[in-house]
């Protein structure tokens, strides 16, 4: 029989600490590097961005504090308000459309048995593509005749050609379609996961109670799917508010579309910072973007909160 308590392994300093203290030390050891990382790579730059937004730094000369001048300029910049409207257009049109669409697809796809995996893959594949690469494909699709694929199709069924990207009205929706297209597969899968997580007995109980499909959808599926929906609403809103890759790559000739009709805030930031080198002004724009994201997310979480 072995010794009751092994005495050998007790040693020195480490054993001065109690069990609880040792665990706390472990925890902070594990966190040490990440804390440095988050501090240096996330928080410090955040504060720096705030600071820069109050300066006139242009990369070339040392930054000078100019108070809220950048914000004043921003508010008086008609381009900003155009871009602001565009950004919200992406959000307000893109989010509901993509969510409704992906829910409908997920809802029906969930019941499809025949070739289920294959169809699911069809919807999911676009999510795996590179936005920068696919933007060019879409750009080609949207070309006017004779090379544009969509216009080619429209022409073959006798419809008039559409200008798409070369249009003040259709430009933004056209780009939005590509963004929705790219994100749809992800949302579908998430919705399907949410649907699967609802125990089937809920449905069976409802069927025994005699509810029709519509009533089941309204009374059971949708309420139980709420956490998923909240996640997707917030997630896709942030995505639409930060849209960049598609716009950048689809409008290289005239960045931001004709008369800035498709330019989102992030592209404006990019141009201000890296074409005009107006870093202070760009920083002010990033702060505005940050504020918008924060308000929109919190608002959504508040509206969709579970009582």
């Amino acid at each position: 029989m072995s010794a009751a308590v092994s005495d050998t392994s007790r040693n020195g300093l480490w054993d001065r600490f109690s069990i609880g203290q040792k665990r706390v030390i472990w925890a902070w050891t594990f966190l040490a590097l990440p804390i440095v990382f988050y501090g240096a790579i996330r928080f410090y730059p955040t504060f720096q961005a705030f600071w820069l937004s109050f300066t006139n730094w242009d990369l070339l000369r040392p930054a000078q504090f100019i108070g809220v001048q950048n914000y004043v300029t921003l508010v008086n910049d008609p381009q900003f308000w155009q871009v602001f409207r565009n950004t919200f257009a992406y959000l307000i049109i893109g989010t509901p459309i993509s969510l409704v669409l992906s829910f409908l697809i997920a809802y029906y796809l969930d019941r499809v048995r025949f070739m289920h995996g294959f169809i699911r893959a069809l919807y999911f594949l676009p999510f795996l593509t590179t936005a920068a690469a696919m933007a060019w494909v879409w750009r080609w699709f949207y070309q006017p005749p004779p090379i544009g694929v969509i216009n080619g199709f429209l022409g073959s069924v006798g419809l008039p050609a559409q200008p798409f990207l070369r249009s003040l009205e259709q430009g933004l929706p056209s780009i939005m379609v590509t963004a929705i297209w790219a994100g749809l597969g992800f949302q579908i899968i998430i919705f399907m996961a949410g649907l699967r997580a609802i125990p089937s007995t809920y449905y069976e109980a409802a069927r025994i109670d005699g509810l029709g499909e519509w009533a089941i959808l309204r009374k059971i599926t949708l309420p139980l799917l709420k956490p998923t929906t909240v996640f997707l609403v917030v997630f896709s809103s942030i995505g639409f508010l930060r849209i960049f890759d598609q716009v950048y790559n689809m409008t290289t000739n005239d960045p931001g579309g004709p008369l800035n009709s498709t330019k989102p805030l992030v592209l404006m930031i990019y141009q201000t910072a890296f074409s005009s080198f107006n870093m202070g002004y760009a920083a002010a724009q990033t702060v505005v973007l940050f504020t918008i994201l924060l308000i929109v997310s919190l608002l959504q979480l508040w509206v969709l909160r579970t009582r």
């Binding site: 007995t201 069976e204 109980a205 069927r207 025994i208 109670d209 509810l211 009533a215």
Partner: protein, 356 residues
């Protein structure tokens, strides 16, 4: 009328047949319990009755109507599930009221029914709570409430108590039984717990591999099991089975001759069954049908009695000793069984050969 008749009911999943033609009549107001080991097809049968599972063959009648193709709702039955299936986003009251979703009763009427069900189930004070804050037993009561308000012709329960702990389980057992007495509705109840079956059922249906082995009242099953499976399944602890041989009209089991064997018994391999409660530790009385010696391996004092695990001729068995008598482990004890307490089975087929 809510008598339910199963006539040659069959369920196939693809090529696999999981229910092999079941015949059963359930009378109006009867409490029928399906028992059997996991995977024997109990739930499947119940779900065919409910209309949740398509019937692959045979006829299902409720009252006088063939309901094979009826939607669940049209069958006018209610069902209570193992995991309660109560909706987390609705209050208790709303959950109970959900059973009336499709009914066109006026609102006040519905409220009355909900309140009534809540009262019967002792949920009056919880009607505005969310299920998340309820205990398992309370949840199950909500589920029952939802079934009740519909005022269905029959209730179906699929292992409603499996998720509860032992104490709650025995409490809910009694509540459901009382409810049955009170409402007088037909109940079909599925469980794999033989205690539930024994204590609740008017009639028990023992299923095994998609077939009905035996149907009868709890006492019938306990006293006259048709085969080894039922015999061991019903009663706790399980019946002891000792290998035996019949020869020359006598039966030798565990190295001892069994007395009072009728001469009709032929020769061959047998199993002699004796319930632990009938296998008593102590000096055999004169009229003992069987007297054996066993080595004590484990003793389990339960307070009111002591279970003594013994080995008889290599075969394990459980005997009972009076409460305060705790034989030492390793010692050899005498055990005996009274006449009439032995069950005889044919070893190869497992079929019952009657009692001794």
């Amino acid at each position: 009328m809510a008598d339910i008749r199963l006539e040659g009911l069959v369920k196939r999943y693809g090529k696999a047949t999981v229910v092999h033609g079941i015949d059963l009549e359930i009378a109006d107001g009867e409490f029928v319990v399906f028992v059997g080991p996991s995977g024997c097809g109990k739930s499947t049968t119940l779900r065919m009755i409910a209309g949740l599972e398509e019937i692959s063959g045979g006829v299902l009648k409720i009252g006088d109507q063939v309901v094979n193709e009826y939607e669940p709702k049209q069958r006018n039955i209610a069902m209570v599930f193992q995991n309660y299936a109560i909706y987390p986003h609705m209050t208790v009251g709303q959950n109970i009221g959900f059973g009336l979703y499709t009914s066109d009763l006026p609102k006040a009427e519905k409220q009355k029914k909900i309140a009534e069900a809540g009262k019967i189930l002792g949920l009056e004070d919880l009607l505005d709570r969310r299920p998340a804050s309820l205990s398992g037993g309370q949840r199950q009561r909500v589920a029952i409430g939802r079934a009740m308000v519909r005022d269905p012709a029959a209730f179906l329960f699929d292992e409603p108590l499996s998720n509860l702990d032992a104490q709650l389980r025995s409490q809910m057992r009694i509540e459901i039984k009382r409810l049955h007495q009170r409402l007088g509705k037909t109940i079909v109840y599925v469980t794999h717990d033989q205690v539930e079956a024994m204590t609740m059922a008017d009639r028990i249906v023992v299923m095994h591999e998609g077939r009905i082995l035996q149907v009868g009242t709890p006492t019938e099953l306990y006293e006259q099991p048709v085969d080894v499976f039922t015999a061991r399944f019903i009663g706790s602890p399980s019946m002891n089975l000792l290998p035996a041989r019949a020869s020359d009209g006598a039966i030798i089991a565990g190295g001892a001759k069994i007395g009072g064997v009728p001469s009709r018994t032929g020769s061959g391999d047998l199993l002699v069954g004796v319930r632990p409660h009938d296998l008593l530790v102590g000096e055999a009385s004169a009229q003992a049908a069987m007297a054996l010696k066993g080595i004590v391996t484990v003793v389990e004092p339960l307070g009111s009695e002591t279970l003594v695990h013994i080995e008889v001729d290599g075969a394990p068995a459980i005997a009972t000793a009076p409460a305060k008598q705790v034989p030492a482990v390793g010692s050899t004890v005498d055990v005996w069984a009274a006449p009439g307490s032995l069950y005889l089975f044919d070893a190869p087929s497992g079929k019952s050969l009657g009692r001794l």
